[in-house]
Symmetry: C2
Subunit: 337 residues, 2 copies
DNA sequence: CAGCAAATTGACAGCGCTGTCATCTGTGTC
DNA sequence: GACACAGATGACAGCGCTGTCAATTTGCTG
């Protein structure tokens, strides 16, 4: 038979309400009582019934992680974030649910509403590119659902976790420049993603700092996918004066660039240096292995969720934490011959 | 203010209990009444409160998807299954939670118990290799938690989804044999995973059918990881008589084999044909692109969850559905020179 | 058209917990 | 030692739904 709060109360000779107080870490319980109750809970292996708690207390102990499965088809990046979010939720004894929320189409607000009404999450964790949709953020605020973001574009007032993507992009381009490259191309990600803008900004910053005038030919649009990387590379290789290095805004596109290089008979890194961004497992497994930017995705998920949970549990306002990146230099970039 | 079941009842001029009956698709409600209630629900945009439903009805409308994050670090395979499971749950208006359950160590039963006591899932979906741990299955049965499996090893009485892995492995090895290869090596996956056994069995079956005696040198142990593929390949390349083709039990290991081939100066597919299993996104992006077996992971997740949900909703006993595989012939395999 | 079984509907309690508010206890003050 | 006051504890109702079982209506039979 199930052990209920009432049973614990009887065992500890206190009222159910006092057990409830201990369970919820409330103030105004004497140390002696608290200890006694905790001991009883432990001894009886008491597990509060989540539905009862949620019904009576008008909160769900549920955090929803939202992702856009449209532009993010089952990426490892998301899986790692999810893992981190889950870990944080576990530590705070919250449950987590993952929800795809396709941003394409104009009914995503309706779908967000349905999600909230159906599941009553106490808060949500937003992952890119959902972090950047103003109407969605507005709706969450209207419905009074706290949220934390992983790498938000707008940074004022948002809590969660961020990385200095612009500095990272700048660092990787500087690496190419240090190898002697001058015609360095950039493949941009999906235009309206914050990540794309920052990475482009970092590229420009590095080029400008090296005194290289911007050559529009060298900056081509991609869409974060392998095939868009292939297409972008073909454009670049068709130029009269080919680039000697390509910085793609993510690893998938960089892989596409390498693929296209093979197609054109260009050897990487001898004829062309290629680098990416994200450090997917793929990056290490390519031949040659890809120079890229590593971000601690799992950690980032955990931090974002922790900020949200601190807020939910009334432990201060929550912050926007910045995590460091790391430049992974591998075999796809080399000194210009 | 929240619309409650009672409000719907008043609007439809019936008792709350009748609304409840309609909500739960119970029998013994006249068509006229049912229609009236449904109309009222629709008009008022009624959303039942999950916690109240779960508390009163003693069920959670929750399906937990279990995975082993030890041997499966954030793979796309799992992400796709998860997506399919989620879709099925949505259709049946169940929620889904994902839970890692590390099988290493001997306290996983305790952790399973905690999971059940803490969250009360109505059922669980098991993914490989969790499908194969007998003590875990036993415990689920003891605790009366129904489960469905994705690719279970034991097939008697288990519901869920399966693929004929042995036939798939045989098909891919037959493809190599048809290209004229005779010294075909195999890199085995983690020893106690069902998948490894079947793929090995399929390899043997194809070799035997071609009248090739088994050469123990050509069968080496791997662990489903990239680096284990590299290590296995090094072993194979060190043989006096090198294989001309390698069938690795998954794509990650196949990628490792290709990587090692690069290291040894072997050109794929000219000097060595390589093929894998799973058709991860990686496979298409390698240079050359990898010949492999595709399984419809997303679909498989959906089917497994659907079988479980049919069972939970009292719609028959649930089945073990077999899905087809497809051999993806790409550029990493070629006729022997 | 009485008589009965089956189908339909409703009354009511209670799932396991927490919010509200009342009560009690211990400490310090003069 | 009487009094004030903050801290600790408890009584009780009720969160929104469903299970149980009783009441009512319907349809059918002879």
């Amino acid at each position: 038979m199930r052990v209920r709060l009432e049973d614990v109360a009887r065992a500890a000779s206190v009222s159910p309400k006092t057990v409830s107080r201990v369970l919820n870490d409330e103030a105004n319980v004497s140390d002696a009582t608290r200890k006694r109750v905790l001991a009883a809970m432990e001894a009886m292996d008491y597990r509060p019934h989540p539905s009862a708690r949620s019904l009576a207390g008008n909160r769900s102990f549920l955090v929803a992680m939202l992702y856009d499965n449209n532009d993010n088809p089952a990426s490892t990046y998301l899986a790692e974030i999810q893992d981190g979010v889950l870990e944080a939720c576990d530590e705070h004894r919250y449950s987590m649910m993952v929800r795809p929320l396709r941003m394409r189409g104009d009914d995503f607000i309706r779908r967000l509403d349905a999600l909230i009404s159906d599941h009553h999450p106490d808060g949500v964790v937003l992952t890119p590119p959902i972090t950047d949709y103003a109407p969605l953020l507005k709706r969450l605020r209207e419905r009074n659902v706290p949220y934390a973001s992983v790498s938000p574009m707008q940074r004022n007032g948002v809590i969660g976790v961020t990385m200095d993507e612009q500095a990272a992009a700048r660092a990787i381009v500087e690496h190419l420049l240090a190898l002697g490259h001058r015609r360095v191309a950039h493949v941009i990600g999906i235009a309206d993603h914050g990540a794309s803008r920052w990475r482009l900004a970092g590229y420009r910053e590095a080029m400008a700092a090296a005194g290289l005038p911007e050559d529009p030919e060298l900056v081509v649009q991609g869409a974060f996918t392998f095939s868009s990387g292939v297409a972008a590379a073909r454009e670049l290789f068709a130029l009269k004066q080919r680039p000697t290095a390509v910085f793609a805004a993510n690893d998938d596109m960089a892989t596409g660039v390498m693929w296209a290089a093979g197609e054109y008979g260009l050897k990487v890194p001898h004829d062309l240096s290629v680098c990416g961004f994200d450090d997917t497992p793929l990056a290490r497994q390519l031949w040659p292995a890809l120079t890229t930017i590593q971000q601690p995705s799992r950690e980032m998920g955990k931090i974002a969720a922790t900020q949200l949970l601190n807020l939910l549990r009334g432990r201060g306002p929550g912050q926007l934490v910045q995590v460091p990146f790391s430049l992974q230099i591998r075999d796809s970039t080399a000194r210009i011959p």
